[in-house]
């Protein structure tokens, strides 16, 4: 039993963080340049989950949490699951199946989209003339597929859990980003001649953000290990991880805006980027209470 990253994993974590900081700053998530995706492909983050790469789920979770911290493109999630479970490589858009339509995210230059269709991972073709616009999450485009396209499904529940785990990792990163942004601001911003983080009312908001992020990250690690080991309760643990990570991302996203005060409500400041990302992630492979309440998880 060991739930801390080893040296190789920590090195990969640091390298990912360094690259993101230099090439994919969070503040630019309001409008990602088109040239970013080819760079991500070149760095290996698109194909790293392919079976030939033999990467384990815990390491994946660590890397995706770092990518998520910088609000990396959400097509990384669908592309990663596609690389592992389908014949598609390269960019695969993210599909969110609703009751009467399918929403597509990051579909630029993608021929297929992948997401959960009922309980299974499935993929659809993307029409060439599909109209895209900005989503609530400014980092991604959104398109609506009105037709009922044929869905090619993968009948392996592990594929769905894989997507859920990676989305949870993105949420954990998003929660971390909001926590750090709030703590930085509470250290810098002065009122009553002292940093606002001196006041317990503000300090404790930040502490609660740290608690939520730590709780979610711990469960993410456990879930990744359970999925990797093929444990019988892996679905329970991945579901728990997704629920706690979504919550951490949403609650930290809101708290971060409050800590920032007036500037936190503006388009020019970054806090809303984390909150909006959290709202997108909460709908992807959502955590089902039914699984958490089952008799023997």
């Amino acid at each position: 039993m060991d739930l801390t990253p080893d040296e190789d994993q920590m090195a990969l974590q640091t390298a990912t963080n360094d690259w993101c900081r230099a090439h994919m700053p969070l503040a630019e998530a309001r409008s990602r340049p088109e040239g970013l995706w080819p760079q991500l492909e070149m760095m290996g983050w698109v194909g790293m989950t392919a079976p030939a790469m033999d990467l384990d789920h815990p390491t994946e979770a660590l890397v995706f949490a770092e990518l998520g911290r910088f609000l990396a493109p959400v097509a990384l999630l669908s592309s990663a699951v596609a690389a592992r479970w389908t014949k598609f490589d390269g960019k695969v858009a993210l599909a969110l199946a609703g009751t009467d339509n399918i929403r597509l995210f990051d579909s630029h230059n993608a021929t297929h989209a992948l997401g959960l269709f009922d309980a299974n991972i499935g993929s659809v073709n993307i029409d060439a003339d599909c109209e895209t616009r900005r989503s609530l999450d400014l980092s991604t485009s959104i398109a609506h597929l009105q037709s009922n396209p044929p869905v090619e499904t993968i009948n392996d529940p592990r594929a769905g859990l894989h997507l859920q785990l990676l989305v949870a990792a993105f949420s954990v990163g998003c929660a971390d980003a909001a926590r750090d942004m709030a703590a930085d601001y509470a250290t810098l911003r002065q009122q009553y001649d002292r940093p606002i983080g001196w006041f317990q009312s503000l300090k404790h908001i930040c502490s609660d953000m740290a608690v939520r992020a730590a709780v979610a990250r711990s469960q993410l690690y456990y879930a990744a290990c359970a999925l990797q080991a093929g444990e019988s309760d892996a679905a329970f643990h991945v579901t728990a991880a997704k629920r706690l990570a979504d919550q951490a991302a949403l609650d930290n996203g809101r708290a971060n805006i409050q800590v920032h005060g007036g500037i936190g409500m503006t388009d020019e400041a970054s806090p809303h980027l984390c909150l909006k990302r959290a709202h997108l992630l909460q709908f992807l492979a959502p955590a089902e209470s039914r699984i958490l309440l089952a008799d023997s998880p």
Binding site: M1, D2, L3, T4, P5, D6, Q9, P58, R179, A183, A186, T187, R194, P195, G197, W198, F199, Q200, K203, H204, C206, S207, D208, A210, V211, A214, V215, A216, S218, Q219, Y221, Y222, A224, C225, A226, Q228, A229, E231, F236, H237, T239, A240, A241, R243, L244, A287, S289, L292, L293, D295, P297
Partner: protein, 383 residues
């Protein structure tokens, strides 16, 4: 990263399980400290004789010298088996003992540690005072040096098991005119010494477990100072991270048993059909799992680096608040039956009333949030 245990650890787990299954007392542990003391001492002796006391304590002092992971496995199985709380031995085993291991002289360790493990010596903690609660550095109880003795005057409060204890980890001011963290010492105080008066205090749960302690010219040998005169704050803090990290594993496993029982109860009485209740139960099931994961992370950190990570204070706060939410849910599921509660009842209502302690004792939830904000996030110190 992995969540598997080695073959040796799994064998150890089986041994724990088998022994507990065969030896857990049929008798229920009494609630009041004075009634429970014989039970507690006897059970601790039984644990010691079978080799389950001090699993990761040094062998020189009666421990088994095994790994912290094995200690965790024991605590997990202990809670799963619904073994009785170690009660009056809690302070010696979880706090006094570990502090002595880290800070005491050979002589002090050789004398006290085996007695703690055997349940022969009961310890209590003398930190809080009427005027020094969250602001612990405001301690006023004084020890005047007189030859090779300390002459102690003052009072302590909220001292669990004081009226049944033999020894106390007493933090007091030994330098005249010293302020705050300076000039404090950590002393082993003989609770049977002349000049000590103990006034037990009843809690709102009806239980009499803690007490106020008065010192009136109590004479304690200078030899009983641990870690050197004037180093009391450092000695007291040395085990706080231990307490915040791994001292609560039994509670956590108990919580995972509790949430499953609560879900079954809610299903049986139909309250699970209330979406709000179902959502809270689902939430707590996920949180209980995460708490175990967080504890495993912390233990892994201890194994890797020899120290608990800075997130230990998060575990402490989260365990306490999650425990209280579980206790509240248990009471909610009971409905108006809670009105039948009478002092002396040992049930969910009792646990609910007693559980208010967990966000107050050993550092309030508010102090824990200060620590998290200041030490983990680097926010400016407010005090």
């Amino acid at each position: 990263m992995d969540i598997g245990f080695s073959a040796e650890e799994m064998r150890f787990r089986e041994q724990c399980r088998d022994w507990l299954h065969a030896n857990i007392p049929a008798e229920i542990r009494p609630l009041d400290a004075a009634d429970a003391i014989d039970f507690d001492k006897h059970w601790q002796r039984q644990l010691f004789d079978a080799g389950w006391a001090g699993i990761n304590w040094p062998t020189d002092y009666g421990g088994r010298g095994l790994s912290i992971v094995q200690q965790v496995i024991w605590l997990e199985e202990y809670a799963k088996a619904h073994a009785p709380w170690i009660g009056a031995n809690f302070v010696g085993i979880n706090h006094g003992g570990p502090t002595l291991i880290l800070n005491a002289s050979e002589e002090q360790k050789a004398f006290h540690l085996p007695q703690i493990l055997k349940g022969e010596a009961i310890w209590c903690q003398g930190f809080s005072e009427p005027g020094a609660g969250s602001d612990l550095a405001g301690i006023q109880t004084r020890g005047r040096i007189d030859g090779d003795e300390l002459v102690i005057n003052g009072s302590k409060i909220w001292t669990s098991f004081a009226h049944v204890a033999d020894w106390q980890e007493l933090v007091l001011r030994t330098e005249d005119g010293s302020r705050r963290h300076a000039g404090l010492s950590w002393v082993i105080c003989d609770m049977h010494a002349p000049g000590i008066t103990i006034r037990p205090i009843r809690k709102m749960s009806g239980q009499t477990e803690f007490a106020e302690v008065f010192y009136d010219d109590v004479r304690i040998p200078l030899n009983n100072v641990v870690g050197g005169l004037g180093n009391g704050w450092k000695v007291a803090m040395s085990t706080l991270s231990f307490e915040r990290g791994t001292g609560f594993i039994a509670d956590q496993v108990k919580q995972s048993e509790e949430i499953s029982e609560l879900i079954s109860k809610a299903r049986a009485n139909g309250m699970i059909n209330n979406d709000h209740i179902a959502d809270q139960l689902a939430q707590m099931r996920a949180e209980v799992a995460a708490l175990r994961a967080m504890t495993y992370r912390n233990i892994s950190e201890v194994v890797r680096t020899g120290q608990p990570g800075p997130e230990a204070s998060i575990i402490r706060l989260f365990t306490a608040e999650l425990g209280q939410r579980l206790e509240r849910m248990a009471v909610l599921l009971l409905g108006e039956v809670i009105l039948d509660f009478a002092y002396g009842d040992d049930n969910a209502v009792h646990d609910y009333l007693r559980g208010f302690a967990s966000t107050i004792a050993g550092g309030t939830a508010q102090i824990q949030r200060d620590i998290i904000g200041e030490r983990l996030l680097g926010l400016p110190k407010s005090r």
